[in-house]
């Protein structure tokens, strides 16, 4: 784990506190004073104890220039997800079970763990692919209908559209 300065630590603490508090408010969905106070105290304790795991992320993607890309990403993602579901449904229903599964690897240009996690989870919900493991720059993917085992070609088929937008958001 890399050394971070004190001010960065304080920043991360407040970010994770704010995030946890938002989750608390969403889950309890009430604004009564005792609930809010207990929530603030609990989430502060949790943020304190998990501080050393939360040195990853900032909210820089909420900057106005990047927000456009975030919205575009969500729309692309939802369309891909609906396509994925009809694809899976077609394979499950047809009596001959038309699958040709295998495991391929692709290389990603994304640098931070956070961005790689977003990419891997997006791959999981898109047609016919399931991310199995992330090792350094490589993502291993279970593909229900293998077309290419070559990493370059597989990357073009699976992850190119997502990575293009993610590069704009995170880098």
């Amino acid at each position: 784990m890399k050394e971070s300065t004190f001010s960065a630590k304080v920043m991360h603490f407040f970010l994770s506190w704010a995030l946890l508090f938002l989750v608390w408010l969403a889950f309890t969905s009430t604004l009564e004073i005792q609930e809010v106070l207990v929530g603030a105290a609990t989430t502060m304790l949790v943020a304190l104890f998990t501080l050393r795991f939360f040195d990853c992320c900032t909210f820089s993607f909420l900057a106005p220039g990047k927000l456009y890309n975030v919205i575009k990403y969500i729309i692309v993602f939802i369309i891909e997800m609906i396509k994925a579901n009809f694809d899976v449904a077609r394979r499950v229903i047809s009596p001959s079970l038309p699958i040709n599964p295998g495991i391929v690897k692709i290389r990603t240009k994304l640098k931070t763990n956070y961005a790689k996690m977003v990419l891997a989870n997006s791959i999981t919900l898109t047609p016919g692919t399931l991310s199995v493991d992330i090792v350094d720059d490589y993502i291993y993917i279970h593909w229900i209908d293998v077309k290419n085992t070559d990493p370059e070609q597989a990357f073009k088929d699976i992850a190119e559209t997502f990575e293009k937008i993610l590069l704009k958001i995170f880098e």
Binding site: A26, F27, S29, M81, I82, A84, N85, V88, A89, R91, V92, I93, L97, I99, N100, P101, G102, I103, V104, K105, A120, N121, S122, T124, L125, G128, T129, L130, S131, V132, D133, V135, Y140, H142, I144, V146, T149
Partner: protein, 117 residues
């Protein structure tokens, strides 16, 4: 307006329950654990999301809470399926394949790498 929302909600509920059923049928029919994860995760994620949003549309007071449930399902399902896929290959469950031998090259490579570390 209410009428339209209700009909839309009912349609979403039916679509959602059909996808939940297809996901379960998928984990019943598919030949190995990775394919089962594919069918199980994708179909049940969209199925659950559309069913819950449907209920939120019929019952507008519940919309906020159902939106939270939907966001939670969308975030948690891919993570748990990724963890399960990882645990499956680390406990050396061989993937089912019927094509060429080289479809498994990446699998062998990642297992070897895992053993060396």
């Amino acid at each position: 307006m209410n009428q339209i929302l209700e009909i839309l909600g009912l349609i979403l509920i039916i679509i959602g329950s059909i996808f939940l059923f297809l996901g379960a049928l998928g984990i019943y029919r598919m030949p190995d654990v990775y394919n089962r994860l594919q069918a199980g995760t994708k179909a049940t994620t969209l199925g659950g999301m559309s069913l819950i949003i449907g209920v939120g549309l019929i019952q507008p007071d519940w919309f906020w809470k159902s939106l939270i449930l939907v966001i939670f399902i969308a975030l948690s399902n891919p993570i748990s399926s990724h963890a399960l896929a990882r645990s499956a290959y680390k406990s050396k469950i061989k993937p089912f394949f019927k094509g060429k031998e080289e479809d498994l090259d990446a699998y062998k490579e990642v297992v070897e790498r895992n053993e060396n570390n």
